[in-house]
């Protein structure tokens, strides 16, 4: 559905996207993850024909994003970070507007169907400005679905939305994907990335890893040990001095310790801490979260570049 080869975008001297190559199949949910300024939004905008690539090639739904702009636009739905809704228009008016732009036939029935699916029917006459964040997000989604696109592009779709609305949003997305839709999204929430079929990690304009969430976790050479104790910051300071430890980071109240291959196991870590005055430590081997993977991978990248 999406084929990208050597895609590059330069803004003056800054290379925002650097030689990106990627394939996304029909029916996939693909998440592009990376820190601010990694180039995620620029990639998405190029795929949606909003930004012209400096070099390289990208085909979306079989059409070239620079030469067959109109064909691409007819087949994609794009939900921008700020949702692109008109606050002074009602829910129904916003939908009608986008239906007209896409030349949708039988829009009335389709609108009803979408309102039902998202449970937004009672709010059809409310101004978009007066909707909660979650409802705005649903409305924006509906507006991008009216013309039955083959691919949905979502730029940070659930930023700042409450957890329940986020979960509802994903339920709707799942249903759409089961119906054959392909979804390409960017997100800064790594727990959201866990819901994607495959994830691409972007850093400094380059795609550094592409895999399933589970694959990414397993590919990490370091083992992850979670340490809980009364004074995790003191424990962190100690562990950072221990041989075989790649990193020790505070994630919430627990410490996530990355151990190099052949380094200490959880028992050794516990004993090391006990021997240095921290006797209440519990250590256990855990599967790292995507956030851990992300941070470890970026740290590895940074080290490679520094060296």
């Amino acid at each position: 559905m999406i084929e990208v080869r050597g895609l590059t975008k330069k803004f003056g001297a800054v290379t925002a996207v650097d030689g990106l190559t990627l394939r996304v199949e029909r029916g996939e949910v693909f998440g592009l993850v990376g820190p601010d300024g990694a180039g995620k939004t620029t990639v998405m905008r190029m795929l949606c024909t909003l930004v012209a690539p400096t070099s390289g090639e990208a085909r979306v739904a079989g059409f070239d994003v620079t030469r067959e702009v109109d064909q691409v636009k007819d087949r994609i739905g794009y939900m921008a970070q700020r949702f692109g809704l008109y606050g002074d228009l009602t829910v129904a008016e916003n939908m009608r507007f986008y239906a007209d732009l896409f030349g949708v036939e039988g829009e009335a029935a389709l609108t009803e169907q979408l309102l039902e699916m998202t449970r937004m029917a009672p709010f059809r006459d409310r101004y978009a400005a007066q909707l909660s964040g979650g409802m705005k997000q649903k409305l924006a989604l509906m507006c991008t679905l009216l013309h039955k696109p083959e691919i949905l592009f979502l730029d940070e779709p659930t930023n700042g939305v409450d957890p329940v609305s986020r979960r509802d949003f994903w339920v709707i997305l799942r249903r759409l994907v089961d119906g054959g839709l392909t979804v390409f999204l960017t997100t800064a929430y790594l727990d959201e990335a866990e819901r994607c079929g495959r994830v691409g990690l972007m850093h400094g304009g380059r795609l550094i890893r592409v895999d399933t969430p589970a694959g990414l976790k397993q590919a990490l050479p370091e083992a992850c040990i979670e340490v809980r104790c009364g004074d995790p910051r003191a424990a962190r300071a100690l562990l950072r001095g221990m041989d075989g430890i790649a990193s020790a980071d505070l994630t919430g109240s627990a410490l996530h310790v990355f151990v190099r291959p052949g380094g200490p196991d959880e028992e050794a870590v516990r004993a090391y801490l006990a021997g240095r005055g921290i006797s209440d430590a519990q250590a256990r081997r855990i599967l790292p979260s995507l956030e851990d993977v992300f941070i470890a991978t970026i740290r590895g990248e940074a080290a490679v570049h520094a060296g």
Binding site: F11, C48, V51, Y78, A80, G84, F97
Partner: protein, 375 residues
């Protein structure tokens, strides 16, 4: 077509949902027309004047009676000396003082030249020169009457004008500058309103983040421009009709030519002016900047270079050259031609053609600007 209609409908909804801007857009032209119409008026009447009649004869009274009876002057009071007259002028209580010297009546009766003195407050040179012409006119008229009487009484043939014969002003008793000002004003107002209405229209979409979404839909730049344009064209047309009606009804400007031609050229001009606002909006992507640029770029040239205040023919070379690129200049000619001279396309075709060229060029520029990508 459906996409253009969708844009136009959405734009009309925006307009309807924002009553304050709507009222502004509809009331502003009226307010401007009335304000400028009066403020810029070259007609001056009810000029406060004092009379210093040293003579005190029937003849002198007849002269200042003429002033009192005229609507151009209001006699504030009679004074008994120069000092009083001057102090009135200094305080601004009067703008003119008519001094009739002793012996005025006797000289008139004797058939000699009888001088009178008019002192004017020259701070407002415009008003002063107008007052001067009024006064001259009144004095000349009086002079004529005296001459006729003299002739009747003496039976003599040619006689020199008895009162200040050096006055040679062809006084136009029907001088009404509003006839010239109002048509020009309509052009200026339409230009400002049109540019301001649309200057926000595209910048707002950029600022709200909706532009990105719009650009990802199959809507073509020309459809976007035409859709937005048609919504604002409706507003502009209402403004044009009210301005013309106000000109005719409030200011009594005669409408001598074809209404059809008037509104046709108005439509063409409006199209270009609206496109100009859209262009600024598309370039700046920022509402405040677009608004300021819109105001500046519409108001100044339309006001100064359109031939509305300063005649194009009497401009120095550079401003005259620049004025050739100001569409309001051609619209002002069209309006004056249609309103006052009642001429038709046979005379005004060039102006109308140039307006159409301007409109199409700016339209092409906006469309091209919008074809550009986000970055």
């Amino acid at each position: 077509m459906r996409r253009t209609r969708a844009i136009a409908r959405k734009e009309l909804l925006h307009i309807a949902r924002d009553p304050r801007s709507l009222i502004m857009a509809l009331a502003l032209p009226m307010v401007m027309l009335v304000m400028f119409g009066y403020a810029l008026s070259l007609d001056v009447d009810q000029i406060p004047a004092v009379i210093y009649d040293q003579d005190g004869t029937a003849e002198s009274r007849a002269l200042w009676d003429g002033f009192r009876g005229s609507r151009y002057f209001t006699i504030v009071r009679h004074v008994d000396g120069y000092a009083q007259a001057e102090s009135d002028l200094e305080r601004g209580a009067a703008l003119a003082a008519l001094v009739i010297p002793r012996g005025f009546g006797a000289k008139l009766v004797a058939g000699e030249r009888a001088p009178v003195q008019l002192i004017l407050d020259g701070t407002d040179s415009n008003t002063a020169s107008i007052a001067l012409s009024y006064a001259r006119g009144l004095i000349l008229a009086h002079s004529g009457r005296v001459q006729t009487e003299w002739r009747l009484r003496s039976g003599a043939g040619e006689v020199p004008p008895p009162v200040d014969a050096q006055i040679r002003v062809a006084y136009n008793s029907e001088l009404k500058s509003k006839n010239y000002i109002v048509p020009g004003l309509i052009a200026v107002i339409l230009m400002i309103i049109a540019a301001l209405l649309t200057s926000l229209a595209i910048a707002r979409e950029w600022e709200n983040g909706t532009m990105e979404e719009l650009l990802s839909t199959p809507v073509r730049p020309a459809e976007l421009v035409l859709g937005k344009l048609s919504a604002y064209f409706l507003l502009g047309a209402v403004d044009m009709v009210t301005a013309v009606l106000a000109g005719v009804v409030i200011f009594g400007v005669p409408m001598r030519g074809s209404t059809w031609l008037l509104f046709l050229s108005g439509g063409v001009f409006l199209f270009g002016a609206l496109c100009w606002g859209l262009l600024l909006s598309a370039i700046t992507r920022n509402q405040l900047q677009a608004y300021q640029l819109g105001l500046l770029s519409s108001f100044l040239p339309a006001f100064l270079l359109s031939g509305f205040v300063y005649a194009v023919d009497s401009m120095p070379l550079l401003p005259r050259a620049v004025s050739a690129a100001v569409p309001a200049r051609y619209f002002v000619s069209l309006l004056k031609g249609v309103f006052l001279k009642g001429v038709g396309l046979e005379v005004l075709a060039v102006e109308l053609g140039l307006l159409a060229v301007y409109a199409l060029v700016v339209f092409a520029l906006v469309t091209r600007k919008l074809r550009e990508k986000i970055a």
